[in-house]
Symmetry: none
Subunit: 166 residues, 2 copies
Amino acid sequence: MNEVFIMSNLTRVIEQYINELFDAGSEESSVSLRRKEVAASFGCVPSQINYVLRKCFTPEKGYLVESQRGEHGYIRIVRLSYENSEERVKHVEEIVGDSLSEQSCKKLLVNLQERGLIKARERLIIEVALRHIDDLGRSEFDLSPYKRSVIQAEMLKRVLRSLVLA
Amino acid sequence: MNEVFIMSNLTRVIEQYINELFDAGSEESSVSLRRKEVAASFGCVPSQINYVLRKCFTPEKGYLVESQRGEHGYIRIVRLSYENSEERVKHVEEIVGDSLSEQSCKKLLVNLQERGLIKARERLIIEVALRHIDDLGRSEFDLSPYKRSVIQAEMLKRVLRSLVLA
DNA sequence: CTATTATTGATTAACCCTGACCTTTAAGTT
DNA sequence: AACTTAAAGGTCAGGGTTAATCAATAATAG
């Protein structure tokens, strides 16, 4: 592998740190931190922590964040686990929405792969199918970019729904 | 003319450069680039790199591309299927043909799965995608059954071409 | 000559990080 | 109890960077 891991990226470092907190807690599916302390230990401004949370620990990726201000304040990050497939389906549909740009579609697929919900080959098949339906919409039926994104979102939802139920 | 002496085609040069970055031995490998740097080293505009990616490193050819903007931005290219020889592609196209009924399509996919060339989940994705494009063709664009089967065959070929078929 | 392919450049979008200002909470004071 | 204050965390705009997109033009192939 060509993995030259560049760790000069603060956001990634903090993300990794939080992930390790999850790992350390074993079966624990939530972790708590103090924003100020974490920021201090990484030598950055506190709002950087909010940035990491907004960017990396999103509902899209299966996380919820709670917090408390004032004295004895804290930030709590909860990792969602889907009890039944219904919940997963609902979640996936919410994420995909009614239309989807190519970029956000790609990001979604990367996320799903990182979470182990789909494999690389499966992602490949999905991307090819989406591209095909997009090409067809453009060159054969002269659809607007928006209409094409709607059709792609429909197909993606359908495919993911079938996978999640499987 | 003898193309060997003509190296004025930037796209091919860059494609070649990226190909050389891949680990020649392993089937699945990935490389990371900085768009700006690569463009600079070839003395071209950065968007030229996107052109090369769109043209040469497509999912149809077994590649997935991920990227990140901003500081520490990168482009990462994942190669899933290496030996995608012309012979295999031809073989697939012969099997699929120009059009394909739903029945023969299903039979083909079952066959591929039995031969261990695709997994159950992969087959599921393909079937869902084919069905979706068929539904769309019927209910949205009022296409004839023949036209729909042609479109399905095209999509199936595209998908199968992207996978490695022994 | 025409159609496709290659290339450029301007514009847009996404990412990272900071800092100033705002809101909420608990504990202390009167 | 009401008020004050200090200690948390939240929000937002913006500056610096980097990649994506798209339309226009140039080059090439047929």
